[in-house]
Assembly symmetry: C2
Homo-oligomer: 169 residues x 2
């Protein structure tokens, strides 16, 4: 699949079939994640991969918009290792770019995915910390739910000329 | 180019040839940007596209790591429209995902690119606001320098098993 096609076809998918994702495909997603750029090459992300049904269900108790995890075959929780932060605050944009690589790689692999926000919601951050016993320096950024899609959402061109400013505002 | 190939091949490029980027290719990058996911579909990004040589040079006076803009054929400044913020703070990760779409689309088009951080550096944000007369509710996030590459940087597999935690930390 061409890059632009993956960019256009990626949609938030919240319904999944029972089909299992191969371990090697999860590894491809993680490899894609680690190819994302980071400010000053800090590579401050780390990844918590959840495949056990019970644990996926536990997340639905602490995240209000995560009910699709009961159907999902996997979740990747992107975390930032704050001990590796070099320039304050850049880790958030870095994690966003990293998440996008996972979503696009998933699209290419025929997987459906949806990004569930965690940080900067303080309660959610604390709840994830508790549930997964994350060390103090590990900040959960988001959760990406993954599975083979059981819904089809058409691509939708969101290009909007009004959001483009040439040379000046 | 396959998505995974673009993800692997994308490197920060800081040397550019004099070749001009077609307007339609800039539009493709902006379309890719606007296909990125945003929390609660806020689509809070806006884009300032700079092609005038003089303006590109002016940025080098307010951004310490932007000297390549003197060679670049274009820059896209990703901004967030804070009036469109729905859930506080999610715009930063959204802008990161949006930036990554631009970098990957650029890679597919044969363009070189590099992400230059602006937010949350307060002085830099203010300097960009002044230089481009940005309204109060417009927050500059980053600058993406663009041009045809005059340097080749090999892909480098950054996959690191130590950053992957299965089921628990």
């Amino acid at each position: 699949m061409k890059t632009m096609e993956a960019i256009y076809n990626r949609r938030s998918i919240r319904k999944f079939t029972a089909q299992k994702i191969k371990d090697e495909d999860i590894k491809t997603l993680l490899r894609a994640a680690m190819m994302a750029p980071t400010a000053v090459n800090a590579q401050e992300w780390e990844f918590l991969v959840i495949r056990e049904k019970e644990k996926l269900s536990e997340i639905t108790k602490i995240h209000p918009h995560s009910q699709m995890l009961k159907q999902a075959d996997a979740a990747i929780i992107i975390c930032a290792n704050m001990e590796k932060e070099i320039i304050p605050g850049y880790w958030i944009g870095d994690c966003g770019a990293c998440a996008q690589n996972i979503l696009l790689a998933a699209t290419e692999l025929g997987l459906g995915s949806v990004w569930l926000g965690v940080q900067p919601d303080k309660k959610r951050v604390e709840d994830f910390r508790k549930l997964f016993k994350l060390p103090k320096h590990i900040m959960p950024f988001n959760v990406i739910a993954l599975g083979y899609p059981a819904e089809k959402r058409d691509e939708k061109d969101r290009y909007d000329d009004k959001k483009v400013h040439l040379e000046h505002w």
